[in-house]
Structures are given as structure tokens and as C-alpha cells.
Amino acid sequence: MKIQQTLTLTALVTLSGLAQAQLDPVHVRSWAASCAACHGTNGHAQPGMISLAGVPKEVTIQKMLDYKAGRVPAATIMHQLAKGYSDEQIAAIAGYFAAQKK
């Protein structure tokens, strides 16, 4: 049963999406939950902080990569945190927040 299921799954994903498909969405949710301490549960921030919920995936990815590369002038904290995540982890987390209702 397990083998059959794996084969079906493999058939469903394209080669380019393979790496993403291997990430369990429940585990990605846990990664994203770490951001909630500052950005609110599921990315719904209290006033005064940027909400991440419903922000298009590409926008969050670009921001995080800019922070990671030191391209954001006068950054305070996010350039230090962004360096702790791989590009793949950033993409997965950005995808999670993009899927949340604003």
C-alpha cells in the first residue's frame, strides 16, 4: 500500500516541483510558526508590525533574499535572521504565508 501510494505521488509531481513536494506541509507550518512571535499567528500581525498573511510568495521570497544578501539598507534584525534559512526553506515559508487569508 505504501509503495503504491509513493508511486502515485511521484507520478503527480513534476521534476521541478520535486524538492518542494518532499517537504511535508505540516512541517513547513511549524517553520512558519516561528515567525509568529513577531509577525502574529499565521502571519496576522498586531498593529505596528508587518503582516505576512496573504502576501504573494514571490514578494516575501524577494524580500528575504534581499535581507539575506545584505541589500536592504538600514536593516535592523531581518538581515540577521534571513541568514539562518536556506533558499528552499524561505520559499516554503513564503508559500505558507501566501496561502493564509489576509
Binding site: 505504501k2 510558526a33 513577531c38 498586531q46
Partner: protein, 424 residues
């Protein structure tokens, strides 16, 4: 096998009608989790267990306090720029929004073999998984004078926010100008590494405005400032010159409460107008009494994938009570992360699913060096499968380049967000 088990559990829960949009509470027969302690770790775990299990898991939180009073930001109450009300959050949203059953009581004993928690009020709670999040208690045995009658009512630690915080503020207000506020810091590890140094700044800020002839004396058992040393020392020189004096390697061995004097291992006694003694700490009493504090009888060793205790099965320990991983601070932010990591793992274990093999989470600690200017330390921690612990990611993290007002805005916003994330 595991998957079939999950499917059976899942369908059974569905049949019971617990999979509804509203916060169903009690009465059901889904898996039971008891959480001891409603601090940053315990309250977060309770909320996320309900949210992420879609209310399939019954969660009971045992907490003796009426409301959550935050340790982070409590130094601002001591400095006088915030009130205790502003750092207090009620627990009721955990019940109203998430269906967490809250019992206002203390835990007397844990029977890990029978999976029973006995409360002081006589109630017995059974559980499938137990989460112990008791915070810290103090090693009063290291300070004989503090065990005399009335001593603890006169000399504050103010290291658990609440009455102690308010009393210390009142003592500072009552102190005549020209007095000395002396604060002692225990050897690391202790809760909130930058906390004492922030407190010194807050008291000094108050003195500059209200009692300019007064002094702040920091008596640190450690060899040097344990967190953000450069930034704190710069604040003391630039902002509080002549007010704050820092003395390292001052390990307090006793307190003469009547004479407001602290005694040290190697140094001369220090007499003060207001004494603030922060004693050495260990895991909270309930964890120690339950045999969970296996590291030097002080801290609780856990598996960092699940936060399950290394000493007791089906028992998880969170927050300041644990034996931390390398460079992992005992902070409210970190405790909130423990809560979520554990909640996800407990759900996976109860539902027969795979536990996340790669936890990754961050920490940010803000410290106010005045009522507006703030400095931070940040880090990212990931699981190392080989070393079986959490390690900081190379190249990540850091501190502020200088104290600034923007981070002051972020710091207060952080508080609003983490309080909501933990309790609402």
C-alpha cells in the same frame, strides 16, 4: 501500521463530531493532553495543540495565576514608564477562541507511570501526554539569610513578574535621593540573560529624571556582562556615567536583610538603600519533585525533536526549565518556540504521524537601554541530526549596531504580537 492507526483514530474523532468550526471543549473522548503552567511555553503549547489538531485533542491547562503577567517588559514597570496592567493579559481567550480547559490550581504530584496529575485542590487529571512548563524556581538554600522570617517580603528578586515587580518599583519610589540601588546577578545559566542589565538601565533612567544623586550598583557573579556586553557598557558610559557602576565576579553568598547588606565569596560586603537579589535558579519545583531535573538536579534534559523528557515517557518539558542546547537562551521568545515545536510533535505522536525531523526556529531578545532606545540580540537555531541537539546556524544572528528608537517601536510591537500568539 502507523498510518492505519491514524486513519482509525481520525475517523473515530470525525464520528464524534469534534471536527467542528467552533471551539468544542471537554466531554469528548479525543486524546488528552494536560499542560502544567501557563507561561510563554505552556500557554503557546496549549493554544497550538488545539489549533493544529483542529480541536481533536482535549487540552487542559493548569495554572494558579489569574492572568498572564509578562517577564519581558516588566523592567519598564520597575523603571516607571509602563504599568503592571500594560504587561498583563487575561487567559480567557485560550478558552473562548481555542477551547482550552483552564483549571486555576497548582500541581502537587505527577505519576508518570499511571499518567495521573494530582492537583492541590484534590482534582486528579489523566493524560495521554503531559507537558510540564513550570518556569524556574530559586535556589534559596544558597542564601541562608533569605530564609529567615519576612526576608522574602523585604528583599525582592522581581524575576517573576507580578507583585514582586510592583513592590520593587515602590521601594525605588520611596528611596531618598542619594541612595544606592544594588542588584545582584547569579552565575549563568539563569532566566533572561540580558534582563539584569536592562533593569540597571531602567532604574538609572528613572534616577536621572527623579533622583539624580542616586546610584545603581550591579553586582555580577559572572566574569563579564553575559549578554550584549558592548551595547550595555556603551549605554552605561554614554547615558548613565556616574550613576551605574558595574562590578564583575561578585558572587553573593548571603544576605543580611535587616542591614540591607549582601555578602560575597571574595569581596567586601555591600550595603544599599534598596537591595534586589536575583538568586541562582533551577527548573520549577514541580519538575524537580517529579524527577525530571536530571542535569545537575537543576535542569530537565529533553529530546529536541519532541521536547519529551529523557527521564519520563509521555512527559514533555518546555521553556526555562530545560537543559538548553548550546547558545539557546532561556527567554520568553524561545519558550514560545518550544511550545509550538512540542505541540506539533505531540499531535504527530498522538496521531501516528511523522515528527518534524528538522525543527528550525529563531530567537529575538530586545532590551531597553532607556525608555525609548532599544538593542537586540537575534539567533536562528536548527536541529542537528548527528549531534541530536539544536545548534545556531553559522553566519546567522547578531546584535544591534547601536541603540535606536526604531527598535524601541519593534520591541513594544514584539510584545503585543507574542502575547497574542501565546494567549489569543
Amino acid at each position: 501500521m502507523q498510518r492505519r492507526h491514524f486513519l482509525q483514530t481520525g475517523s473515530a474523532l470525525g464520528a464524534m463530531g469534534l471536527v467542528s468550526g467552533c471551539a468544542t471543549m471537554g466531554g469528548g473522548s479525543g486524546p488528552k493532553v494536560v499542560v502544567i503552567g501557563g507561561g510563554y511555553a505552556g500557554a503557546t503549547a496549549a493554544k497550538y495543540l488545539r489549533m493544529w489538531s483542529e480541536h481533536k485533542i482535549q487540552v487542559t491547562l493548569v495554572e494558579p495565576s489569574d492572568a498572564f503577567i509578562s517577564c519581558p517588559m516588566s523592567n519598564l514597570v520597575i523603571g516607571g514608564s509602563k504599568t503592571i496592567t500594560e504587561i498583563t493579559t487575561p487567559y480567557d481567550n485560550l478558552t473562548k477562541r481555542h477551547g482550552v480547559k483552564i483549571i486555576k490550581d497548582r500541581v502537587n504530584t505527577i505519576d508518570a507511570d499511571k499518567r495521573i496529575v494530582k492537583l492541590a485542590g484534590g482534582t486528579e487529571l489523566t493524560y495521554d501526554r503531559l507537558i510540564v512548563s513550570p518556569g524556574v524556581d530559586f535556589m534559596w538554600e544558597t542564601l541562608p539569610g533569605m530564609n529567615r522570617a519576612g526576608a522574602k517580603e523585604q528583599v525582592m528578586h522581581a524575576w517573576k513578574a507580578g507583585e514582586q515587580t510592583v513592590t520593587l518599583r515602590k521601594q525605588l519610589e520611596a528611596m531618598p535621593d542619594g541612595g544606592v540601588f544594588a542588584m545582584s546577578i547569579p552565575l549563568a545559566p539563569y532566566r533572561c540573560p540580558p534582563g539584569p542589565y536592562e533593569r540597571a538601565c531602567q532604574v538609572a533612567d528613572y534616577f536621572t529624571k527623579a533622583k539624580p544623586k542616586s546610584k545603581v550598583l550591579i553586582l555580577d557573579a559572572n566574569d563579564d556582562v553575559t549578554s550584549k556586553p558592548g551595547l550595555f557598557k556603551k549605554a552605561w558610559t554614554d547615558r548613565y556615567k556616574g550613576i551605574i557602576e558595574y562590578r564583575s565576579k561578585h558572587n553573593v553568598t548571603d544576605v543580611d536583610v535587616a542591614n540591607k547588606t549582601v555578602k560575597f565569596e571574595f569581596n567586601e560586603d555591600v550595603k544599599a538603600s534598596v537591595l534586589n537579589v536575583i538568586p541562582s535558579m533551577r527548573a520549577g519545583d514541580i519538575a524537580v519533585n517529579a524527577g525530571l531535573a536530571t542535569a545537575n538536579k537543576r535542569w530537565c534534559e529533553v529530546d529536541f525533536l519532541t521536547f519529551e523528557s529523557k527521564a519520563a515517557k509521555n512527559v514533555h518539558v518546555l521553556g526555562d526549565a530545560i537543559q538548553v542546547a548550546p547558545l539557546m537562551p532561556k527567554s520568553g521568545h524561545m519558550a514560545n518556540q518550544h511550545g509550538k515545536t512540542c505541540a506539533a510533535a505531540v499531535i504527530a505522536l498522538l496521531m501516528g504521524k511523522e515528527v518534524n525531523p528538522m525543527p528550525i526556529y529563531n530567537n529575538t531578545c530586545y532590551s531597553y537601554v532607556s525608555t525609548k532606545d532599544v538593542v537586540h540580540v537575534a539567533s536562528v537555531h536548527r536541529y542537528d541530526a548527528e549531534k541530536k541537539t539544536m545548534l545556531t546556524v553559522t553566519g546567522s544572528g547578531g546584535v544591534s549596531s547601536a541603540a535606536n528608537e526604531l527598535e524601541g517601536v519593534y520591541a513594544w510591537s514584539w510584545a503585543q504580537n507574542i502575547w497574542a500568539d501565546t494567549l489569543a
